[in-house]
């Protein structure tokens, strides 16, 4: 044992130690290189950063800009390794510094020697700041190397893990490899040991392949061969000798026994015809005993006469001695016994020859013919009975719906069977269905399996029974070469001869293929049902009549918050007490009506969340697992609808709220509308009062001023002037009122739209107003103005206002020049009015469209014209645009729908009337 340990562990140790040495060295080298590399990279990066920062800081040091210097240093925030940075001026005074928030703030008060030092996981660096060859100061940087060492430690630990892993691998591989070398040697040693201990020369070393091991095992085995062969020869010789002696003794014994127990009488006579011996039957038949008869001539003992003639028959011994051949006795011979009684016999005699061929005796065999005669008669009767029985048996065999096979030899080399058996195996009668039949005779169209396993011929039922086994209820599958299968079940029993020795076998099998298929279908359906129940997204349970859980699926168990197994055998009232009364009501109902209860809503809580109200939609149905159709239990399908219920409630509340709000809103709208209508009415009244009430006093003022001048005799100049001013003011007031009225009309009136010929419209406006004509002004139409879809009266008003403004707001001494042009943009038309007026500041672009906004007091105006333009254009679905700068003139643009379907534009209408309004 110790030798085995030593060779194994030696090999193992050699492999592991070698691996450990190589790996250890590799890991150490790897870590040292990694450390050196990381440090070099860190140093390089530090130097680069320092150089860049020093270069950037020279100006700040030279011109003593501490703020910029501090800003520069705080840029190191993006370099997390830099813990501290500082700048010293040329005199060595600290100029600016930066610390990482959590750093220790120990900045050296004066710079140390230039260069880079590494100590205590820190890299410290003093970099001169030089510009144009002059030194302006020193940059100090402190880097934290902890990250680098942490990384190195990670590398190191990874390397150690790999090292340990590789060692384990080497151990495992070594374990396998050492077996290849140590194994054979050890097994050789074991065999040698066992041979010396047990003297079993039959043992052999396992053959090895290759090398010295093969030579060793081969030589060892050859040696053993030689020893075994010699031993074997010796043993055979001994055994043969022993066997020969035994056979001789047995033969002698057998002869004696045979003679003694044989049913015929046997008399042995010598060459002279004298009796040598009688067997027991011969003594009984002749009435002589062996001792009395010995030496007497045969005719004295064996007196025979012809049954018919009553004459002595010829002595058979003499006849054999004379003829030298076997003779049979003449029939109907009578033996006269010693007591004189007679019995019919038949007999025969045969010579006993020596090795040389000479006759040295005669054996006479005879038997009592009385019994035999009787027996022959009996036999004849029994043969007839047997034939009848055989025919019956044959009929039964053909009639039974089972396949029957019969073998009449123990090896089952030939098997016969009934028609059903041949049909089953798809064979026809002359063929031999035995799979144990000799090659060529054996059927090849099927094989036999049991539980899927192919059966060897000796495992088949007939073969097993023919070996003496009772085979019961064996299920087997006959699988044909075309893939079809039949399933059988049956028995096989040994056939025994009259001595009780097995001499064959009978097997009977019925076809259960259909039953098998039905079972398989049932099993599949069951599996399917089970899977469905387990995975269905609804809960399911089966309860007995007392409402105890019999089956429950996972989903329902989850809903209840208990494992499925904990439900089985428990009452509903134990698992979900709050649901029990409702369940009781439902099930009572089912028991009463026999009808299922569908979509019944339950509410309550579960052990999963006691006190939390939940809702379920459940369908209960009766289960009638009883031949009589009585209800034996209940099935229930459960769907949780808590969320749906909650959503419904929320929805109902939201609906109610919405309805109440709608009512409120409607009320509000009605109120507001009423108020608005009231306001509109007021406004209308107001407008009329302006027209009718305000204008009348104005007329009076105008008229009286005129009358004052005309009729109060010559007035002085001052009075004349005052009167003129009254007239002018009154006119302005009148115009103002007129404009307000225009506006309110535009704002209130419906503006029916129709195609308008803009070019004709502009021309007619220009013709109407002398202020728009040379020499007072110049209005120029560029190109063709596209027609627009608009209200002609309103558009006339707008264009009049724009053209009026264009020639009004003009620098003194400048002749107004207005350019009008149009363009089509998609289905819209833009009309542009560009003047050379005083222009409008950008801030006022919005304001000028508001009512009463007058930009310049220098120019006369009501401040309503543009408001009307905007209002009117917007009412016609258009927009108004403006581009203007003080001193550079203004361009107003109107954008309106183009005339989409182009009906022929009617000739320019006479729009002078509307333009005047």
């Amino acid at each position: 044992m110790s030798s085995r340990d030593s060779i194994r562990s030696k090999l193992q140790r050699a492999i592991v130690f070698t691996t450990a040495a190589v790996l250890g060295l590799t890991c150490a080298v790897f870590i040292v290189f990694e450390w050196r590399g990381l440090l070099a990279a860190e140093t390089r990066a530090a130097l680069n950063i320092a150089r860049l920062a020093a270069d950037a800081s020279s100006g700040m040091l030279a011109f003593r800009n501490q703020a910029e210097a501090t800003k520069l240093l705080s840029a190191f925030q993006s370099e997390p390794d830099v813990r501290t940075a500082a700048l010293y001026d040329a005199t060595g005074k600290l100029f600016a510094e930066y610390h990482v928030a959590d750093a220790d703030r120990a900045t050296p008060t004066v710079p140390q020697n230039d260069g880079l030092r590494i100590a205590d996981q820190r890299l410290v660096l003093f970099q001169p700041v030089i510009e144009d060859g002059k030194r302006f100061g020193t940059l100090y940087l402190k880097f934290d190397l902890r990250d680098m060492y942490a990384r190195l430690w990670r590398y190191g630990s990874t390397a150690i893990l790999i090292f340990l892993g590789a060692l384990a691998g080497a151990f495992a591989i070594g374990h396998v490899l050492q077996k290849k070398i140590a194994g054979p040697i050890l097994s050789l040693a074991r065999i040698a040991q066992s041979i010396s201990r047990e003297r079993d020369y039959g043992a052999r070393a396992e053959r090895m392949r290759g090398g010295e091991l093969e030579v060793l095992t081969t030589a060892f085995n050859q040696m053993l061969d030689t020893i075994q062969e010699q031993q074997g020869r010796l043993r055979t010789e001994l055994a043969e000798r022993e066997r020969a002696q035994k056979a001789e003794a047995r033969e002698r014994q057998l002869l004696a026994t045979t003679l003694a127990s044989i049913g015929d009488g046997v008399i042995v006579a010598d060459a002279r015809g004298c009796v040598a011996s009688l067997n027991a039957e011969a003594e009984r038949l002749t009435g002589w005993n062996s001792a009395d008869a010995a030496g007497r001539p045969l005719p004295e003992i064996f007196r025979i006469i012809n049954e018919a003639s009553r004459q002595p028959a010829e002595n058979p011994v003499e006849k054999v001695l004379r003829l030298g051949a076997i003779v049979g006795l003449a029939n109907h011979t009578i033996l006269i016994r010693r007591d004189g009684s007679e019995i019919p016999i038949d007999d025969s005699a045969a010579p006993i020859r020596q090795a040389g061929g000479a006759i040295n005796g005669v054996v006479l065999v005879f038997r009592d013919f009385t019994e035999r005669k009787h027996a022959e008669q009996v036999m004849q009767e029994s043969a007839t009975r047997d034939r009848a029985r055989a025919a019956e048996l044959q009929a039964i065999m053909e009639a039974v719906p089972a396949a029957i096979w019969i073998s009449r030899d123990r090896d089952c080399r030939v098997i016969t069977g009934n028609r059903a058996s041949f049909e089953l195996l798809r064979l026809s009668p002359p063929e031999n269905p035995s799979l144990s039949a000799p090659e060529g005779e054996r059927p090849a169209n099927f094989e036999v399996r049991c539980n899927g396993r192919l059966l060897r011929p000796d495992e088949l039922p007939v073969q097993r029974a023919a070996r003496g086994e009772e085979v019961r209820d064996l299920e087997e599958e006959i699988r044909f070469s075309d893939g079809a299968s039949r399933y059988m079940i049956g028995n096989a029993t040994p056939l025994r001869d009259e001595h009780g020795e097995v001499c064959g076998a009978v097997a009977a099998f019925v076809d259960i293929t259909e039953r098998k298929r039905a079972e398989e279908d049932l099993r599949r359906a069951h599996t399917l049902l089970e899977t469905l129940l387990k995975t269905a997204p609804v809960g399911f349970a089966y309860l007995d009549r007392e409402l105890r859980f019999v089956t429950i699926n996972t989903r329902l168990a989850e809903m209840n918050g208990l494992p499925a197994a904990s439900h089985i055998g428990k009452f509903v009232s134990e698992i979900v007490p709050t649901l029990a009364p409702a369940v009781h009501t439902v099930t009572t109902n089912i028991l009463a009506t026999g009808e299922p209860v569908k979509d019944h809503e339950f509410e309550g809580d579960t052990p999963l969340a006691p006190g939390v109200q939940r809702f379920w939609n459940e369908s209960w149905f009766p289960v009638r697992d009883d031949p009589a159709g009585a209800i034996t239990g209940f099935g229930v399908v459960v769907e949780e609808i808590t969320e749906r219920k909650q959503a419904e409630v929320a929805l109902r509340e939201a609906h109610a709220q919405l309805a109440s709000r709608a009512v409120h809103l409607e009320k509000l709208v009605n109120e507001r509308t009423a108020k608005l209508q009231e306001t509109i009415g007021d406004l209308e009244t107001f407008s009329y009062s302006i027209v009718h009430d305000l204008r009348a006093p104005l007329r009076a003022m105008q008229n009286f001023a005129r009358l004052l001048v005309e009729e109060c005799g010559p007035v002085n100049e001052t009075a004349q002037d005052y009167a003129n001013r009254i007239t002018t003011a009154a006119e302005r007031m009148d115009r103002l009122i007129q404009e307000v009225l225009n506006y309110s009309r535009v704002a209130r009136a419906e503006l029916p739209l129709a195609p308008v010929n803009t070019a004709a419209l502009v021309r007619s406006i220009v013709e109407t107003y002398p202020a728009l004509q040379p020499p007072r002004a110049q209005v120029e139409l560029n190109g063709n103005l596209p027609p627009v879809h608009a209200n002609e009266a309103a558009l006339t008003q707008c264009i009049s206002n724009l053209l009026g403004n264009a020639v009004k707001f003009i620098a003194p001494g400048v002749t107004p020049h207005v350019r009008v042009w149009g363009e089509t943009v998609g289905h819209r038309v833009r009309l542009h009015f560009q003047d050379n007026g005083i222009g409008i500041e950008r801030e006022a672009h919005e304001k000028i469209f508001q009512m009463f906004q007058r930009l310049s007091k220098r120019y006369e105006g009501t401040g309503i014209g543009l408001t009307i333009v905007k209002k009117a254009i917007e009412k016609m679905g258009g927009t108004v645009g403006l581009e203007s700068e003080p001193g550079k003139g203004s361009t107003f643009s109107l954008e309106l729908d183009s005339v989409r379907v182009s009906p022929p534009i009617a000739a320019a209408p006479d729009s002078s009337n509307t333009a005047a309004s």
């Binding site: 100006g59 700040m60 030279a62 011109f63 003593r64 510009e131 144009d132 002059k134 302006f136």
Partner: protein
């Protein structure tokens, strides 16, 4: 800094004045062929620096030349100066001074609380702001004189351009 006496302020300005030599490139023709010819720092009018400036530059070199500090009463004397400090007293004549230096490679340095010095074409002005000396630079003026001001200096100063007249 605000509490420092006025003399200290001019010590600082002297140091800055000297440092300009290192942050400005003069065109080659600004220097005499003789490589020992000095780099001249001129002071026009009253010298506010006293001996401190001369002391400061004594052993220094600029553009590989020894540095010499000279004082001038009039601008005509100051021809060939590389760096000219124009004292506050010369403010009244500033226009004619700058005109006569036009396109000459002389770095003009002045001082003014407002932007006037650099607006009129002076190149660098000291501005004393709450005791701190800050800089205003007119890079345009320097460029037209053929001088190149280092961007590191420009970055620290307020950039002002010549006033359009």
């Amino acid at each position: 800094m605000a509490a420092q006496p006025a003399a200290r302020e001019y010590d600082v300005k002297a140091a800055l004045l000297f440092n300009f030599c290192h942050f400005v490139e003069w065109p080659p023709h600004a220097f005499a062929a003789d490589s020992n010819a000095p780099f001249v720092i001129g002071i026009l009018g009253t010298d506010p620096f006293g001996p401190f400036l001369a002391e400061l530059v004594k052993s220094e070199r600029a553009h590989n030349r020894p540095i010499e500090v000279r004082r001038f009463a009039t601008i005509e004397e100051a021809a060939g100066t590389h760096l000219l400090f124009i004292g506050q007293a010369e403010q009244a004549r500033l226009n004619s001074i700058l005109t006569s230096l036009k396109n000459k490679p002389t770095l003009t340095v002045g001082e003014a609380a407002d932007r006037s010095f650099v607006r009129q074409g002076g190149m660098i002005a000291f501005v004393t702001d709450r005791g701190n000396v800050k800089l205003r630079i007119n890079p345009e003026a320097a460029r037209s004189a053929g001088l190149v001001i280092n961007s590191k200096l420009l970055r620290l100063a307020e950039i002002v351009s010549t006033e359009n007249r």
